[in-house]
Subunit: 299 residues, 2 copies
């Protein structure tokens, strides 16, 4: 069956306790709390296949650590790291698709009607051909998007002392993020940047925010803001000093996005994607800084 | 197999397009957006089985209407009402368990990797023996719980003009509600009442709030508060005048809960459950009002 074959090449599903299964087969029951309550967490990482057909996950360790933090915040007993690593290896063994992919690690609290233990699964999804490296002087445009600002409904310190609000936890409960993308598309933009009721820019709907302002790279602080620590942004900030840039966590007023040298939405699988217009207003693009940011992120 | 037989009696699962299936069988794929993003909605209703073994759903119409509103807010094309009614009927046909049950209607956006259309399923879950009717002069205590107040992180008007925050939409993204129950239990209480940053009481974690104050029944307004319209509370308020009570939607300051004649958390399946202590402080209990509230809710 052609469809199934195509599907096997572009999607791989592996479930803890069952191994790799047909991606078209159901995997969770009707009472799985990840389905019925969004009661679980996930993490996403970039998968790169080299010309020999060998695939690897970029910074799997960092993503497994973040997943473990999310699970701990939800009081879900995540399987041991070795089990996740073995499950990822099983999935990768079925994966020789050229180009880039996304690994997703999904953990739910498990079944409600019987004590099954947590549900743990991984998926691999093809993302398209290998992304072109941006070389110095290269005229190929870096990936870019348009965005609008949308209120998060919250002040910047809403998550202080309120762990039940699950700030910094990558839960499966992403319905608001999906609705925000829908709102952005309805306004003719690609994505949204959440802003606080007291005027700060927070993050994208599935990505972290990075701003170049006054010669420094600024990322939204985690903690009281409820912002998730970004594996890629952390890597960019830590490597910045070696590349002639300073980087730090600092809340950026929304107004500053319009006078910045560059604004990026950053995710592990897509890397830094430059925002070209915000609320219909063109943002500055400094080619040299943009190139450095891509390199710092390993793209 | 005893376990399977037991399971069949206490849980029924019916999936649109598949009919009734073994409750232990998986129903959704790894890429179902309800699982991976909480991108879907649900509704819950009370199921009562009469002594002849015939089961019916209390106000199925009201719950189907609310589900349709949730689906519309998420831009998910819900199956026609007749399809839901037929699916519920299929599930009920397998259900003769004495006592009370909960019907859950679950709708997700469907699969991410291929256009499958939305996933629609219903579950029936046994809730225990028939609830005793509270008769006048009956000394059996009405159901009650203890609660703590937890911040919602938001002001009372946070959802005004921000439809992407999904106020009033019963999404599958309930991780914060689950975490709030966990926090409440950690503080020695049964449940939590969310309160706004500007000092108003909103709702429970899976229930609406009803307060008897100065001779009136008060329910949290929907709309800007993001509060879900409660099918049971709506019914209580509309029937109150015929039972010598007035009822209306009004924001109640948290402080007023401590001087009220009664505070209830109301859900369709459990009905009004009286809050006996809040943050460790005993709340008033007016027996006559409590009895009327139970009757108004049909319990």
């Amino acid at each position: 069956m052609t469809a199934a074959t195509d599907n096997e090449r572009t999607h791989v599903v592996a479930v803890l306790g069952r191994g790799v299964i047909d991606a078209d087969l159901p995997v969770v029951t009707a009472d799985d709390l990840g389905l019925t309550r969004g009661d679980g967490c996930f993490d996403s990482a970039r998968v790169v296949t080299d010309p020999t057909g060998s695939a690897h996950v970029v910074d799997l360790d960092g993503h497994l650590t973040r997943l473990a933090c999310s699970a701990a915040a939800l009081a879900i007993a995540s399987p041991p790291r070795e089990d996740w690593q073995a499950l990822v290896a099983e999935a990768l063994a079925c994966w020789s698709t050229p180009g880039e992919g996304t690994l997703k690690l999904v953990l739910t609290r498990g079944r409600e009607w019987q004590s099954s233990g947590p549900t743990a699964l991984v998926t691999l999804t093809h993302r398209g051909p290998e992304r072109p490296t941006v070389a110095p002087g290269d005229s190929r445009p870096a990936p870019s998007i348009t965005a609008v600002t949308l209120s998060s409904g919250l002040p910047a310190d809403a998550f202080a002392g309120a762990p039940w609000l699950l700030g910094g936890v990558k839960t499966l409960a992403y319905a608001v993020n999906v609705a925000a993308v829908r709102e952005a598309r309805g306004r003719g933009a690609d994505d949204a940047i959440f802003v606080t009721t007291d005027g700060y820019a927070l993050e994208g709907t599935t990505s972290a925010l990075l701003v170049a302002r006054d010669g420094a790279l600024l990322a939204t602080p985690t903690g009281d803001t409820g912002i998730l620590e970004s594996v890629t942004v952390t890597s960019i900030l830590s490597r910045a000093p070696g590349h002639g840039l300073t980087g730090r966590h600092e809340l950026v007023p929304v107004a500053d996005l319009f006078r910045a040298q560059g604004v990026w939405l950053v995710s592990s699988s897509r890397g830094p994607v430059q925002v070209t217009t915000l609320d219909g207003i063109a943002l500055a693009h400094d080619g040299e800084t943009a190139e450095r940011v891509l390199r710092l992120a390993g793209f």
